[in-house]
């Protein structure tokens, strides 16, 4: 069922721009360059971490993958099949195979539904279980994610943030998907709860064998979870590397800057790189390399030519003229 080299999901040159009006009185349309030509593969059963600053398009990319929004250009290939333009019944059917875990455990659960109906909705809409069976199935699933069976009859507001996130995880794995988009699944939680949820996600991955596209801005979380890491900046990928290689020797100047900003205990002294300035507006991304306005290695060419993502070192992809 998988494509070349065990690739479960392949994104090919995906674009997504959101049009916005400059003001009420002007007809001029600006575009938010949320995702700007991203190509990325997710192997079956593995975790690809997607890291970047706020507003770089990580969440948009996650939602594009499971077709909650549609790309403007590019191809999404899932299990060797082009799903970019699927609609209606076919799209509904493919959704059994991919699920999403949301960042905000408060807005991601319908406050007017019981937990068993939230968890069991997928079974119901796909006709996999009747109303009478859902209760038992939901209870088993809730126990698996570390809740009690009587949680099934309660409403979401009776749970804490961490418990709610467990409910969200139960919902995501209910249909035994091949791919789960984890969209900052722990960034709204306390640090002590974060670890529990991350370990739960790892255990479940071992048990069910699904692949994760793990979106986060927290490098430590990314390091803990990922096999491969994709570093995103202003809608483009800067570097894609295996996790340990990225953390021991980041190649792209942006990756180096990001890593230098994370305090790590018991590690060799880090490079002193301070990323200057703010992330530019995605309404008007800089020409040439997206990162040149903040890059300590920037040269003349960077302002004019956009570097392509290429295999600069064995098994590692970077988008920089000087790496």
């Amino acid at each position: 069922m998988t494509g070349v080299n065990g690739t479960l999901l392949a994104l090919e040159n995906i674009y997504k721009h959101f049009p916005v009006k400059r003001s009420f009185f002007s007809a001029e349309m600006l575009k938010v360059h949320a995702v700007d030509g991203v190509s990325l593969g997710v192997p079956a059963g593995k975790t690809v971490g997607l890291v970047g600053e706020s507003g770089c398009g990580k969440t948009t990319l996650g939602r594009l993958v499971i077709r909650l929004i549609s790309p403007d250009a590019g191809r999404i290939v899932f299990q060797g099949r082009d799903i970019t333009h699927l609609a209606g019944e076919e799209l509904r059917r493919i959704r059994r195979e991919m699920q999403i875990i949301f960042q905000d455990p408060y807005s991601s659960l319908n406050p007017r539904m019981r937990v068993r109906d939230i968890v069991g909705e997928g079974w119901l809409v796909h006709g996999l279980a009747g109303r009478d069976e859902i209760r038992g199935l939901a209870e088993r699933l809730l126990l698996r994610v570390g809740l009690t069976a009587d949680a099934a009859d309660k409403y979401p507001h009776e749970f804490s943030g961490g418990q709610r996130q467990r409910i969200g995880i139960a919902r995501a794995i209910a249909l035994s998907p091949k791919l789960v988009i984890a969209d900052e699944p722990v960034s709204a939680l306390d640090v002590s709860v974060q670890a529990q949820i991350l370990n739960l996600l790892k255990d479940i991955q071992e048990e069910y064998g699904m692949a994760y596209l793990f979106v986060s801005h927290d490098l430590r979380v990314i390091r803990h979870m990922s096999d491969t890491v994709a570093v995103m900046y202003l809608g483009k990928l800067m570097e894609v590397s295996p996790v340990e290689e990225l953390f021991s020797k980041p190649l792209h100047p942006y990756s180096r800057g990001l890593l230098a900003a994370v305090p790590m205990l018991g590690e060799a002294p880090q490079e002193k790189i301070v990323l200057r300035g703010e992330i530019p507006s995605p309404l008007a991304p800089p020409p040439g390399c997206r990162f040149h306005t903040r890059c300590f290695m920037a040269q003349k060419i960077c302002e004019e030519v956009c570097p392509i993502l290429r295999e600069s070192h064995p098994g590692r992809l970077t988008a920089c003229h000087f790496v």
Binding site: R93, R96, S107, L109, N110, G122, D150, K154, E158, L175
Partner: protein, 286 residues
Amino acid sequence: MAKGREHSILLDFLRRLVRNRLAVAGGAVVLFFFVLSAFPHVFSRHDPNRIDVLKVLQPPSADHPLGTDELGRDVLARMVHGARISLKVGFVAVGIATAIGLLVGLVSGFYGGWIDAVLMRFVDIMLCFPTFFLILAVIAFLEPSIYNIMLVIGVTGWMGVSRLVRAETLSLKERDFVAAARAQGAGNARIIFRHILPNALAPVLVSATLGVAGAILTESALSFLGIGVQPPTPSWGNILTAGKDNIEFAWWLSVYPGLAILFTVLGYNLLGEGIRDAVDPRLRGR
């Protein structure tokens, strides 16, 4: 995690509602008129339609606590039976208005685009007509029966609800749980009715409560003008009409139905505003 916590949203809401004295007073008035219309015979042993020419326009007495009208009918009996008509009109009319408003608002907010544009311009057009004259015009063509009154009040009163529901839908459809339902494979109908509608109902409840007051007032006004509930069926509005002709020597014919309308409308308004305050999340925990 006792079972009692299951209903804590509702309990919380009731606690905040009960703490609001004006809302409780409004609720008591509403409840009083409910009981009145449910058991009219308990409150008055007279037949509301029994004409007695020997007892025309008698002032309040022990036998007729609120006096008699120009045909010698007992005013209390007519008021008590009229309460049922007024409440029925209020509820059915608001029910119709709410149903139409919900449907239009949900469809408009959920689908957006040209569907939204067309529906909302239609709402604007409907709002351009002075509602009361629209009702008068329609009633002029239809037979002025109680059912037509309900229908016309309902069909001319849904625009506010539709705008309210549209606004709620616009914000709810962007919430993650709607995205989650879509990712689970839920279709549009399921998302609208299972995920958006239940979460959009709270403000509709408030507007419906306030709407009942408005509908009762409209029915009274129409009946007062003689194109509402037709005699001999009693209604607060048409008792008032009879009172108008005899106001110089039979004050009780105007004052009591007037007070009944006043208190009912006031009661619904206070209750509605109390509900609005109680469901307002910004006031939670006070």
